[in-house]
Structure formats: C-alpha cells, structure tokens
C-alpha cells in the first residue's frame, strides 16, 4: 500500500494552525490558551526557558495529551491522523537522539525507511542529503562517536530525508561553530525560498531568528505574547531609511534635498548616519545620484528597524505586567 506524496496534491490549508491549546503538568499550566497560525516561510518560535516551546512542538507532533485546544497540520489533526501528519513533518529534536551502533549514513537511511522510502532509494537519498549537509566522510562513523556539530547535521539530514513539507527544528544551531551555523541557516533559507517548505525554528538565539525568519512567535509563561511578521514588528512606525556614507555628510544632505529627498543626521554609537524620509518610496532611487553628486560613497542603505532583541524584551515585559 502506498500513499500519495504531499506535493502531488497541495492542500489549501495553512501549514499549521494551533487553536486554544491548554496543557498542564499537575497544577502547572505549561500552555495556556495558545493560538497561532504559521504560514509558508520560516517562523521563529522564541521565549525564555520554560516558556512552553518544547511542549508546543510536542503538541504539534501529537506527543502530549492536551487538556483543551486543537492542532491542525495542513488541515489534519495529528492526534487523529498521526501517520498522515508525520509523513509531512520533519523534526530535529533538541535532545540528542540516535540509534547507538548505526553509522551516520545508516541513521539517515533508517529514518528514510521508517518514513516509507524504499530500501535503495532511501540509501541514495540519505547520501544525497548528507552531501548537501556537507557531512563528508564522517558519515561512516558510528553516531555515538560523532562530534556535537556532526550529530546535529545527521539529525537535520534525518529530518529532511523524506522531503517533508513542514520542518520543525528545536535549537538547530546548538553546538555548531560560526561557519557551520551560517551554513545551517543558509540551508533553512534554501528549503523555504527555493523549495517552498515551511520551517519552524525554536531557539534562544535572536540574531538567528532576525537573520532568517519571516515571522516570529514569542511565548512567555505558556502564552503567546507576540506574534507577527518580523518586518512589521521591528518597524519604527515612520517610513525611514538608514543611510551610511563616507565623505561630507552635510553636502550629502544638501544633494539629497536637491533630488527631492528629506534627510536628517542621526548620531548613533557606530557613527554619524543619515535618516532618509521614505514617505515616497519611488524617489529613493535618487539616493545613488545624490551621493555621486556630493562625491560620497554609500556604505549601507536599508530600512530603519528596531532591533529584534528590543522588541522581544518589550514583549516579555508587557507579558510580565499582564500576568496575574
């Protein structure tokens, strides 16, 4: 018996909908009426320790008993149709989990076969995915002897070997050096931008979230205290662009004015910057001509945003005040 692949029949449902989830361990409420919707792209799931992130991930997998609420993954209930849902899910757990005695490639191949791939295809696919993850010859070593970073790669390869539509990663950059970390984040971007996957990254590392995520969900004390597109949340409310340029700043401001752009200087800790009014975005292209006329060189030109960390901390403070 075989089932059709997800890609054969795309569903009109959003990748993930969570509605009113309540989970208690004894008297402690770990998830308190959690509701959210995840769209295609990369969503960061962030929150302090004990906020309920891992429990939420387990709830999405149908691995915890819920007191109330419902979960839908591509319109399917993981509690009623776990088989179908898990066919379309790939998970990198935070905990190190492996089958002692298997080599890296055997581990990934085993994961593929458990997901229903035929034998030879599973092995071919395992090697292909490990190549993509830059696993090298280390793949032939027993998993229990691998370094933390290599284990993370094997775990990631095992999660995507069956080409899932939704990938959930719990602390995916743990134990990775800066180069590997960048490579891992790059792979997540490739999966979403080029292959249309949906990725949920549960992490503490806000720069990672800021650099790759489209949306963010902030959990605190079992509640969603902030959710939305990162671009919206980090916006300042005023349409402004940040312009960093070498050379005479006053001449540049004057040149910008001649090209119909309003700019002001801002003294930031990193140096003198300009803030260019972007009320009329169609005029922003004139910045390059204005810089040339003022004999300056543009170093950076980007929308002005609030740091995500600031947004995160503000959301947590607000949640703390609101808590009973």
């Amino acid at each position: 018996m075989s089932v059709p692949r997800a890609g054969d029949n795309p569903t009109p449902f959003p990748p993930l909908v969570v509605d009113g989830l309540v989970k208690r361990y004894g008297s402690r409420t770990v998830l308190d009426s959690v509701s959210l919707e995840v769209r295609q792209g990369i969503t960061g799931l962030v929150g302090p320790n004990g906020a309920g992130k891992s429990t939420l991930v387990r709830a999405i997998l149908g691995l915890v008993r819920l007191e109330a609420g419902r979960v839908r993954v591509f319109g399917r209930d993981p509690y009623r149709e776990p088989h179908t849902v898990r066919q379309r899910l790939g998970v990198v757990p935070e905990d190190e989990c492996s089958i002692p005695g298997l080599s890296g490639v055997e581990m990934v191949c085993y994961a593929a076969r458990l997901s229903g791939l035929p034998g030879t295809e599973a092995l071919r696919r395992a090697h292909e995915v490990l190549d993509w993850c830059d696993a090298g010859q280390e793949r032939y070593r027993p998993v229990e002897t691998l370094s933390v970073g290599m284990k993370q790669k094997v775990s990631f390869a095992a999660a995507i070997v069956h080409d899932p539509d939704l990938v959930i990663l719990d602390e995916p950059t743990n134990g990775l050096d800066p180069i590997e970390r960048r490579a891992m984040l790059g792979r997540l971007v490739t999966l979403t931008r080029r292959h249309g996957k949906t990725v949920i990254v549960s992490t503490h590392v806000l720069p990672d979230v800021e650099s790759i995520c489209d949306d963010i969900v902030v959990l605190s004390q079992g509640r969603v205290c902030l959710t939305g597109a990162i671009a919206d949340l980090t916006g300042t409310g005023r349409p402004e662009y940040r312009l960093v340029a070498d050379g005479d700043q006053e001449a540049l401001v004057a040149s910008l004015a001649r090209h119909g752009l309003v700019a002001r200087t801002a003294d930031e800790p990193t140096g003198l910057e300009l803030r260019v009014d972007a009320t009329r975005p169609e005029r922003l292209g004139a910045v390059w001509a204005a810089a040339r006329d003022a004999a300056t060189r543009v170093r950076q030109f980007e929308p002005v945003r609030r740091p995500l960390e600031e947004v995160f901390v503000a959301a947590l403070r607000e949640a703390d005040h609101a808590a009973p």
Binding site: M1, S2, V3, P4, R5, G7, D8, Y25, L61, G62, L63, V64, R65, P82, H83, T84, R86, Q87, L89, V91, P93, D95, E96, C97, S98, I99, P100, G101, L102, Y110, A111, R113, L114, S115, G116, L117, P118, E121, R125, E128, V129, D131, W132, D134, G136, E144, A158, I160, H162, D163, R187, T190, L191, R194, H195
Partner: protein
C-alpha cells in the same frame, strides 16, 4: 563541496505504509548481529545438534539393520541402552511398553522416537542456550532506545507503537528461531536423509509443523518477558540481571518444591512400609490377602539422576505439579503437549495458564512503557 553534491532535491516517489515494523526488525537484527559474542553464542547453540544427529543416525541404522525386533523384548521403561546415557533412555522409553502384541510398526516407532528426540533437543540444550542468548540481546533492545532518547526517532515519524513493539519482538523471535527452530528442522531433514527411504517424509510430515509451533510457543512468552524487562529500565544491565534472576529463581523454586514433594512422599512410604512390614512381608498378593479392601502399597521408584533431563525429554511420566511456577518447566510441559507426548489436561492446563498470564502481563507492561513518553 563534493563534486557529486547535487544540492537539495525534492523527492517525488511514493512512500510505502505499514513497513515500519519490518524495517525496525531488520535493523535490530543487523545491529544485534554486530556483536561478536552473539555470533559465537548462536554458533555454539548449533553444536548440541551434532549429538542428536548421531542419535537419529543410530536409530535409522538400527532400523536398517533390523535390530529393533530382537531388542524390543529386552527394553524396559527407564533403562538405558548401550551406555549412551540419556539418549539411550529416550530411545528405550519410546520403544518399551507398547501395548500391541506385535509391537508398533517401524513407522510408528520412528515417529515416537523422532518426536522425543526433537523435544529433548529443543528442551534440554536449546531452551537453556536460548535463555542465555536472549539474555545477551534483549535487555538492550528497548532500554538502549530509552536511554538514547531514540523513541523520538521513531515517534516523530509515521511509526505506531505496535510497529515498534512488533519490530523488536521479531528481532528476538528470529533469534529464537535460529537457536531452536532451525536446528530442529535441520535435524528432521537429516533424519529423512539418513532413513532408508524418502517416504519417511509422509509418516513424519507433522513433525516440522510441531517444531514450528513449539518454537513459537517458546518464543512468545520469553521474548515478551525479555522486552518487558528491557522497557522497565534505562540500564540494560539491570534488565539482564532481572532476566537471568527470573529464570534462576523460578528454577530453584520449582526444584525446591518438587524435592519437598518427593521427600514427603518418601516419608509416607516409609511409614506405610514400616506399618506393613511389622505385620506381613512386602508382597502384593500377601498384602491383598491380609488387608482386603485396602489400597496396595505404592512403591515409588527412587529419584533418578538427571531427572530434569528426563523430564525435558518427555520420558518422565510423573506429573510435574509445580511446572507452572517456572517458565522453563512450564514451557517444557507445553512443548511436550505440542509434540503429542504429554496429553493429560490436568498436567497441561496450569502451565498454559501460567504462561498466558506471564505473556499478557509482559505485553501490557511493554505497551505501557513504550507509549509512556508520548502520554505525558
């Protein structure tokens, strides 16, 4: 970047469902087989077959040389032939005491002797080796997964709890088959090959079937118990200890109670004999004439050496009323019933019940423990 790196490619094949148990079983067998000790143990487990192969050969030679006819009148129950010890006893008991005037036909004798030889083979050396080999492999099967949090590998994929349990059971069942069923089937094939005619297959066709059923009977409670122990701890050493302790303790308990029974019976005999001897010499006719209506004095045979082996071979006709207490002895009674050697319901039912309860409890523990991480 390696030359052959083709980047990430979507996979558009069709996935098979319902194959997870087979995948888990195959991988489990592959992992277990990596152990040098296991390979040695399985190889060693085939060596007793050489002794039993000789017994098959000797019997078939006797048939071919026409030795069974003259030998039959000299045979007595519990007597060995030709100093070949327990095997000689097995053969002697199979041949002796047939009710028919002309004795059984050669085909009937062959069936009886082969059945007893196969049962003896599956019970005495193989079941003991099985306990050792399962004790080497089973404790790690579930406990290692729990310790390495490997349950997340399974239950984040389309794998049901029952797939996982069946997969692990099959790993052990294959071991049981490799140690008990396959050598026994090989012995049957050897018996056919050394017999005078291949028509022997027609008269012994049921024996392979009985071997398979007997192996399954052996496998089910043992592997369930072994996996249940494995699922109860993260330390496979503890599961291993519990496994061997259960077999050992139950064996000792069975032996102690059986010995107590025998001692009590001997004491009764002595009292009765002493009461009789004061009045009359111990002669059955005299007893009956002197004490009409009183049951004759039962003279029990003295305890035999290697009684457990005789019981294992199905040559000990005395009911084992404590067999239900020990998995090894309970399995012996049930296997004897499978081979058609033990037919008394009062002897068979208690061990069957005891093994059923053991299997059910072990199965319930296993299901509960395997599913526990997902039921928080």
């Amino acid at each position: 970047m390696p030359l052959h790196d083709v980047g990430y490619r979507p996979w558009r094949g069709r996935v098979a469902t319902g194959s997870a148990a087979g995948v888990i079983a195959l991988t489990g067998i592959k992992l277990a087989w990596k152990s040098r000790w296991l390979r040695r143990a399985v190889l060693f487990a085939w060596t007793p077959g050489i002794v039993f192969a000789f017994a098959f050969f000797a019997f078939e030679q006797a048939v071919e040389d026409g030795l069974l006819g003259p030998m039959r009148p000299r045979l007595r129950l519990d007597q060995a032939i030709d100093n070949i010890g327990a095997l000689g006893t097995v053969i002697a008991n199979a041949l002796a005491g047939r009710p028919s005037a002309n004795g059984p036909t050669t085909d009937e004798l062959r069936h009886i002797v082969w059945s007893r030889l196969l049962l003896a083979f599956m019970r005495a050396p193989q079941a003991l080796l099985l306990a050792i080999v399962v004790g080497l492999v089973a404790p790690a099967l579930v406990s290692r997964d729990l310790r390495a949090k490997a349950w997340l590998v399974y239950f984040t994929r389309p794998v049901r709890e029952i797939d996982y349990i069946v997969g692990k059971l099959v790993v052990l069942a294959m071991l049981v088959a490799a140690i008990t069923m396959l050598p026994a089937l090989a012995l049957w094939v050897l018996g056919v090959l050394v017999s005078p005619s291949l028509q022997v297959v027609l008269t012994t066709w049921d024996l392979p079937l009985r071997i398979v059923i007997s192996a399954l009977t052996l496998a089910l409670p043992t592997v369930l118990m072994a996996l249940a122990y494995s699922s109860l701890t993260l330390e496979s050493r503890i599961a291993s200890f519990a496994w061997f302790a259960t077999w050992g303790a139950c064996w000792v308990a069975h032996g102690a109670l059986t010995t107590a029974d025998m001692m009590a019976a001997e004491a009764v005999d002595r009292v009765e004999a002493s009461a009789y001897s004061t009045a009359m010499p111990l002669d059955d006719d005299l007893e009956q004439r002197s004490f009409p209506g009183r049951a004759p004095l039962r003279r029990r045979p003295p305890p035999e050496p290697l009684q457990w082996l005789r019981r294992a071979g199905g040559t000990d006709a005395r009911p084992d009323r404590w067999a239900w207490l020990s998995p090894y002895h309970a399995l012996g009674v049930v296997q004897a019933a499978v081979f058609g050697i033990e037919r008394r319901p009062d002897v068979i039912i208690p061990p069957v019940l005891s093994l059923s309860v053991l299997s059910l409890v072990a199965g319930a523990v296993l299901v509960n423990r395997v599913g526990a991480p997902a039921r928080v």
